[in-house]
């Protein structure tokens, strides 16, 4: 119900008095009106921009944030107003919705920002007014496609090799040749052979000079029959192998067999096999020659290699209705004009317009402005109608063409956008990765700095103050809590990779390369204590925690001095602004089974956390 109409509810209820005298049963008790006559102005301060409205206006929609008691959470006593830390420009539209009952979507706003604001204020986007609904839906769809594309690319890039079976990896190689070099090689080889095959088909028919014992000129195909046959065989072999491999690798064989590309493949190689089967039969050799025509379909195999060709095909498919209309209107016009021309030219002697179907040819040639000149009208009336025919031909063809062109342009731009996004994605990912690693490194550095505090109070504190504002400190504390909770630690990539390689050598996987299992508090002094344990315990714990530990201790000893704290610190000097979620993501490394570390072990505090050497050997399984 529109907001304005809601204001008429009192009227509707009052008008119900008209039913009372005729009512056959007693009326129900009216609902209690809790708040009444308090129609004051409400001040809504949205990031400094003050909006004022009546209380009743907001309460028209009690299931939204502003209309319900939820807004009390945002009440600011000192200034006696409701403060929202949101975008005032978008808020204007939201408030207008309360006022007029119609929600509009401003075209210049970002769709996701708008959606977020709507979600915050508890307004469902479906009530956007008709004037803006289409635009909103279009933008939303575009955005979804963009996100979907990104996700697909993510998935295809992040799929770990060993998770896929050989069949799946082969299919992936076929579909995305850029994933592996083998696939790329295969892609180019097939492309080359398609080109060679098509070229051979073409050259076969070129006249090649006379053969030694013949008078007539022969085509190259007949002259070098054997060579062409060998070439054809080779190509067909390659195509057959490719088809069979694709069939083997396809996740859904039935769907693959039904798809257009596979049909093209089959049609491209069938003529050869059919030719093999019935070479010597004279009767069907005529049909055999016709079959060779189908070899030209091999050129369609190029559509796997060219995106533009695929787009063209897709456009034609999506413009099927316009093409159908074009065809229909052309047919109508052809029949009309052919009939007229036939009867107009019936009288003239020696006219080529022998029948209406014969006149079809003239009409088509004229309407498409070809004008071969093999059939021309000779009578005056024929010429008049002929000219009308050619004029109308231009119009009829010109009308649906822009629709097809705009469709093609839209699809083409869409694919261009996808390509651009893919290219940008790489740089974007690189940027994200840099930030993530920066964040994680900040935490790692903080841990080292935290130790610095016990080691060297003043210097450490100075360093801490410089690089760790309050937010960072609290964030690091949080990460530390998480480490404590999971009994794992965050490490940097290098260490992780190395430990990964070592772990792969180890037979035993039961013992986790676990961590600062000592349930120490976060105070500096406890760290100090732990630190002092580290070195001696590294030897002790070997026996306790198994071979993995052993390796890690070995690792510690082997680590060169260059990996000292100072150098690492120098490397991580830049403090990248932290994003809360990222350290979790980067540090989510190998998920090794971690048995709960019991306190006796804890006391001996795993040797792993040997901060002093800035080698965080432990991996954290988040």
């Amino acid at each position: 119900m529109a907001a304005g109409v809601a204001a008429w509810l009192p009227f509707a209820r009052a008008a119900a008095i008209g039913w009372m005298p005729v009512a056959s049963a007693p009326m129900p008790v009216p609902p209690k009106d809790k708040r009444r006559a308090k129609d004051g102005l409400i001040v809504l301060n949205v990031s400094g921009t003050k909006f004022q409205t009546w209380r009743n206006t907001l309460e028209r929609y009690p299931d939204t944030l502003l209309g319900s008691t939820e807004r009390d959470f945002f009440y600011h006593e000192e200034s006696n107003e409701y403060f929202f830390d949101r975008d005032p420009d978008i808020f204007r539209h939201i408030l207008n919705f309360y006022r007029t009952g119609k929600l509009h979507y401003p075209r210049h706003e970002c769709i996701s920002a708008y959606d977020e604001e709507l979600a915050f204020f508890g307004i469902i986007p479906e009530i956007i007014g008709d004037c803006c609904y289409e635009e909103y839906k279009d933008r939303r769809r575009e955005n979804q496609e963009r996100i979907q594309d990104d996700e697909e690319i993510d998935q295809s890039n992040d799929m770990v090799q060993q998770d896929m079976t050989f069949r799946e990896s082969m299919w992936r190689a076929f579909e995305n040749p850029h994933t592996s070099t083998m696939a790329l090689v295969f892609y180019y080889v097939t492309g080359f052979f398609i080109a060679v095959s098509v070229l051979a088909n073409v050259v076969e028919t070129v006249p090649c000079g006379t053969a030694p014992n013949r008078v007539k000129e022969v085509s190259c195909g007949e002259r070098y029959a054997l060579a062409f046959f060998c070439l054809d065989t080779a190509c067909v072999m390659i195509f057959t192998v490719e088809y069979l491999l694709r069939l083997l690798a396809a996740p859904s064989r039935y769907k693959f067999v039904k798809s257009v590309m596979s049909i093209i493949d089959v049609v491209a190689i069938m003529p050869y096999y059919i030719g093999l089967v019935m070479t010597d039969n004279e009767d069907v050799s005529g049909a055999f020659v016709t079959l060779r025509v189908f070899r030209v379909f091999r050129i369609f195999k190029f559509s796997r290699h060219s995106a533009g060709l695929r787009i063209l095909g897709y456009t034609l498919k999506s413009c099927a209705s316009e093409l159908g209309f074009l065809l229909f209107s052309l047919t109508m016009a052809i029949i009309i004009f052919a009939t007229v021309m036939f009867y107009a030219e019936k009288g003239s002697s020696g006219s080529k317009f022998t029948s209406i179907p014969a006149a079809f040819w003239y009409t088509i040639v004229t309407m498409t402005t070809l004008g071969y000149g093999d059939m021309v009208p000779k009578t005056i009336i024929g010429k008049i109608f002929g000219s009308i025919c050619s004029l109308s031909g231009v119009l009829v063809i010109a009308l649906p063409v822009p629709v097809i062109v705009s469709n093609f342009s839209r699809i083409y731009h869409q694919s261009q956008r996808a390509e651009k996004r893919r290219a940008q994605k790489k740089t974007r990912l690189a940027r994200i990765r840099a930030v993530k690693s920066g964040g994680a490194n900040a935490y790692l550095q903080y841990k080292r700095n935290g130790l610095l505090i016990d080691a060297d109070e003043e210097a450490g504190q100075a360093l801490v103050c410089k690089t760790n504002p309050t937010f960072d400190i609290q964030h690091h504390h949080l990460l530390h809590c998480l480490e404590k909770t999971t009994n794992h630690e965050f490490v940097d990539e290098k260490t992780y990779e190395e430990s990964c390689m070592e772990v792969s050598m180890v037979k035993q996987t039961s013992r986790s390369s676990s961590i600062s299992s000592s349930p120490h508090g976060l105070t500096c002094c406890s760290r100090r204590k732990r630190k002092s344990f580290n070195v001696p315990n590294s030897n002790m714990s070997v026996g306790l925690q198994g071979s993995v530990q052993e390796l890690s201790t070995i690792q510690i000893r082997e680590r060169p001095i260059s990996n000292s704290r100072s150098s690492l610190n120098a490397k991580f000097e830049e403090t990248v602004p932290l994003n809360c979620d990222q350290p979790y993501i980067t540090a989510a490394v190998i998920s090794m089974p971690t048995p709960p570390v019991t306190t006796p072990e804890g006391d001996e505090s795993a040797s792993s956390t040997d901060y002093s050497q800035a080698n965080i050997v432990r991996v954290s399984a988040l």
């Binding site: 529109a2 109409v5 204001a7 009192p10 008095i17």
Partner: protein, 242 residues
Amino acid sequence: MSTPSKRTQWREDLQHLRKEHGFSKKVLLNCCLVRRIITWASPNPKDSVEDELELSAVRHRPEGLEQLEAQTRFSRKELQILYRGFKNECPSGVVNEDTFKDIYAQFFPQGDASTYAHFLFNAFDTDHNGSVSFEDFVMGLSILLRGTVQEKLNWAFNLYDINKDGYITKEEMLDIMKAIYDMMGKCTYPVLKEETPRQHVEIFFQKMDKNKDGVVTIDEFIDCCQNDENIMRSMHLFENVI
């Protein structure tokens, strides 16, 4: 096309031109032909302007707040709230019957409220000028929400008496009843039958028509309602709606 006066004017012009400049008749005729074609082709702009004026003239400003306060039993604040809602839905200041029907229909989506809205409109439109202004609206509401029981019953009688002759006949009552049942729509439990409104009218007349003359007068109506507890109670139902 051109009015007779215009045609004579042209004729005079023509003759004048012929005499003065020695134009041949043929040339002048052709010229006139062209002008005629032009006037025929271009539509008369006068009508559309008049239409526009008419539309914009329908704009009503209500009497002052003080007068309305005096005439109705609403407080100043209540009048303000009512007017704001009214103006929001009808920016021109008056409601015509179609808008009225639309608004009322929105409250009863399952059924057809147009007939009852028509009767309501006539009840509100006290001066019968085809549109309900804010004053009419507020007066009606004042009676319905703040009036005495007598006034409310009077208003209800006025609603039922479609031709405003002081008597409610069975046909009038049947119309009203059908309108009310129409608002229920199709999907009811128990299912609405054809004769339900008629039966209801019979019951009503049995109750109200004391002297059994087939019509209900205002006195019969008020007497009867005042003796009926249910009706009395229901009259006070919507008192605190505003």
